[in-house]
Amino acid sequence: MNSTSTPTPTLELRGISKSFGSVQALSDVNFEVRDGEVMALVGDNGAGKSTLIKCVAGINSIDEGQILFDGEPVTIHGPKDAAKLGIEVVYQDLALADNLDVVQNMFLGREIHDPAFRLREAPMEQRTVETLKSLSVTTIRSVRQAVATLSGGQRQSVAVARAVLWNNRVVFLDEPTAALGVAQTRQVLDLVKRLADQGLAVVLVSHNLVDVFEVATRITVLRLGRNVGVYDRDKTNEQEIVEAITFGSPAPEETGAVA
C-alpha cells in the first residue's frame, strides 16, 4: 500500500478537533507520518494546515482527539514537550533570529553550557559545521555570520539543519520553498529528500504541487478543517489532488487506510 517500512506510524493524530471561538479550525482530523517517508500536507488557505502544525508543535492546545507517538498516547502542552518527543517544526519565516549567527540559531533555546550556564561555543560550532556538512549544505561561507546576511535558501537550509541537529524523529516543514528562486528551491527540496533518507519522518506543507509530487511519498489533503483523504504519490496525479483540494472529492483507495 505504501513504500514505508515501519508498521507503526511515528506520529499519528486521531480525531483532532480545534476551534477558535466560533470558528471550527479542525474537526475530527486524522493524520499520520512514518519514519523515512515524506508526507505532504496540502489544502487551500483556511484548510487547517497551520492549525494542525501548531497543535503538534505545542503552540496551540487541542480541544479533542489523541496524539500518538510511536503508538503511545502523548500530550503536548508547549514547544518544550514537542522538542522532547523529537518533533521539530520549521516555520515559513519565523524560524530564525536575524541578529544571531548560524551557530547561535542552530542551538537557540538548547545551548550547550556548563553547570554555571556558561556557553560552550567550541562544541556548538563544531556540531553545526558537521551537521551542515552531513546535509551537503556548502553554500554558507562562515557559520559565524549573522543570519541577516544569508539568502532565503540559505536561511531555509539553516532552519532545516536545526531539525537534524537535534536527532529529531519528525520534522514539519511549513512552505519551505515559498518565496525562493529556482536554484534555491532545488537546494531545499534536495535537503528534504536527504532528511527522509536519514530515516526521519518528514511532513512537507506546501501549496506547490510540483514540489509535492517531486519529493513526497504520500499526500494528505485537508479541506475546511476536515480530512479529504490520503493519496499515494505513485497512484495519483496532480489533477486528482487539485480536485480534492478544491471540491473535497473522496479518495478511492486510501480513505479507509488511515482510520
Binding site: 508547549g78 547561535q104 537557540l108 533555546g109 550556564f117 556557553l119 563544531q126 556538512k133 556548502t138
Partner: protein
C-alpha cells in the same frame, strides 16, 4: 552542491586565520553595515583631540581622575539600559528610579533614627529597591502586555513622587556612613592600583588564551594569534596607562575606586550578555521574540529579568551619584540623567530596534558624554552648548544606527 565543496571549506577554514583574510572579512562586514565599535572609538579620539587643543587642563592627570568620577553614575545606569534596548524595549524610569534608590541608601544609613544600618546593608537595601522596581515594571510589561514606554513613564512619575514624599519636609538627607561615601570618593593607593591593573591584564590574557585553546582543540578556525595577543596587550596597556596617569594626579594621587566599580560592572554585564545562555536568550528575544518563543525560551521571564537588571543598575548608579555628593536632595535622579544614560547606550552602538549592540558600548558612550560635559565645563561654555552638543552627538549616533540597519537588511536579501 559539487563534490569538491568539502575541500574548499577546509581550505577556507585554514585561510580564515591569516591577517589579510581577517582584515578583508572585517572590511566586508563594515561595508555590510556591521561597523562594531569603530565610530565610537573615532568619536572618542576626535573629541579628545578637540578639547586638548582648546584647553591645556583637559589631558591633565587630575582632570582624568575627575572625569572617571563624573562618568561613573551615568555609565553604570547605561549598562542596564543596554540590556533593555537589547530586548527591544525602553526604560524611562531609570533616572528617578536611581534617584529613589539614592534616597533609599541615604535613608537606611541615617544616624539617630530607627533605620540606621551599616553602609553595606543600606547599599543592599537600595539595590533591592531597584530590583523591586524592575520586577514590578517588568511583570506589568511581560504579563499584561502594556508597552514598556508607558509602564516606565508611569514608573518615572511614581519614583519622582516618592522622592518628593520621602524627602518632603527636610528636602535633603546627608550621608555620614564612611562605606557609602567611599564608593565614589575612595582613592586606591598607588601600589593597589598597579596590582589591580595586573590582575585585570592577567584575567584578560587567561580568558583570551582559554578561548584560543578550546577552539584549537575542537579544530575550529582560531583567528590570528597575533591579533588576539595585540588586543590583550592593547587593553592591558590601557589599564596600566589609566593607573599611571591617576597616580600622578594631585593632590590625591591614585586610581578612584569608583572607576574599578564601573569596569567591574561593565565587565560583568558584558560577560552575562555574551557568554551565558541568559545573554544569548536576551539577544534572541530582541532579534525575533516569536522565534525565541518557538525555540522554547521563556520570553516573559527574560523580559522581567532584564527590567530587574535595569532597576539594579539604576540603583547602583544612584548610590554612586549620592555618594559623590555625600548626600541626596530633591533634585536626585532629575536633570539630564535619564537622557544621558539612554544616550550613552545608543552612542555606544546599541540599537534602539533591539538585538544589536554590546555592553561595552555603555562605557564608550559614557566616556563620550562625560568628556563632552567635562570639556565644556573646562572651557566655561554655557549649559546651552553642553545640551546642544550632546544632542547633536546623539542624533548622529541614532542616524548612523538607522542607516546601518537598512544597509544590513539590503545586503541580507
Amino acid at each position: 552542491m559539487s563534490s569538491a565543496a568539502p575541500a574548499d571549506v577546509q581550505a577556507a577554514a585554514e585561510d580564515q586565520n591569516s591577517i589579510g583574510a581577517i582584515i578583508r572579512a572585517r572590511w566586508e562586514a563594515i561595508r555590510g553595515g556591521d561597523v562594531g565599535s569603530l565610530p565610537v572609538i573615532i568619536g572618542i579620539i576626535a573629541i579628545g583631540l578637540f578639547f586638548n587643543a582648546k584647553s591645556p587642563i583637559f589631558f591633565s592627570a587630575v582632570n582624568f581622575q575627575n572625569l572617571i568620577g563624573q562618568l561613573a553614575g551615568v555609565t553604570v545606569i547605561a549598562v542596564g539600559v543596554v540590556f533593555v534596548l537589547l530586548i527591544g524595549e525602553i526604560d524611562l524610569s531609570i533616572g528617578f528610579a536611581s534617584g529613589l534608590c539614592g534616597v533609599a541608601v541615604a535613608y537606611f544609613q541615617q544616624a539617630g533614627t530607627g533605620h540606621d544600618y551599616p553602609g553595606l546593608v543600606a547599599l543592599a537595601l537600595a539595590i533591592g529597591t531597584g530590583l523591586l522596581i524592575g520586577l514590578i515594571q517588568g511583570s506589568v510589561i511581560a504579563f499584561i502586555g502594556v508597552p514598556s514606554f508607558v509602564v516606565t513613564l508611569a514608573g518615572l512619575l511614581i519614583c519622582q513622587g516618592l522622592i518628593l514624599q520621602i524627602l518632603g519636609t527636610q528636602g535633603v538627607i546627608g550621608i555620614q556612613d564612611k562605606q557609602i561615601n567611599d564608593i565614589s570618593n575612595y582613592i586606591l593607593t598607588k601600589n593597589t592600583g598597579w596590582i589591580v591593573a595586573t590582575i585585570f591584564a592577567v584575567g584578560l590574557a587567561a580568558s583570551a588564551l582559554g578561548g584560543y585553546v578550546s577552539r584549537r582543540r575542537a579544530g575550529l578556525p582560531t583567528g590570528n594569534l597575533l591579533l588576539t595577543v595585540g588586543r590583550v596587550v592593547f587593553f592591558a596597556g590601557l589599564a596600566y596607562a589609566a593607573v599611571a596617569v591617576c597616580n600622578k594626579a594631585q593632590p590625591r594621587p591614585g586610581f578612584p575606586l569608583v572607576g574599578l566599580i564601573v569596569v567591574f560592572l561593565v565587565g560583568l554585564g558584558g560577560y552575562v550578555a555574551s557568554r551565558t545562555t541568559f545573554g544569548r536568550h536576551v539577544y534572541a528575544v530582541g532579534g525575533n521574540a516569536e522565534a525565541a518563543r518557538r525555540a522554547g525560551i521563556n520570553v516573559k521571564l527574560i523580559r522581567i529579568l532584564v527590567f530587574m537588571i535595569s532597576g539594579a543598575m539604576a540603583a547602583m548608579g544612584g548610590v554612586i551619584l549620592a555618594s559623590r555628593l555625600n548626600g541626596i536632595d530633591l533634585t536626585a535622579g532629575g536633570g539630564t540623567l535619564l537622557l544621558d544614560s539612554i544616550s550613552a547606550a545608543v552612542i555606544g552602538g546599541v540599537s534602539l530596534f533591539g538585538g544589536r549592540g554590546r555592553v561595552i558600548g555603555a562605557l564608550y558612550g559614557g566616556v563620550i558624554i562625560g568628556m563632552v560635559a567635562n570639556g565644556i565645563d573646562l572651557l566655561a561654555y554655557s549649559d546651552a552648548i553642553k545640551l546642544i552638543s550632546t544632542g547633536v552627538i546623539l542624533l548622529g549616533a541614532v542616524t548612523l544606527d538607522t542607516v546601518l540597519r537598512r544597509r544590513q537588511a539590503t545586503v541580507g536579501r
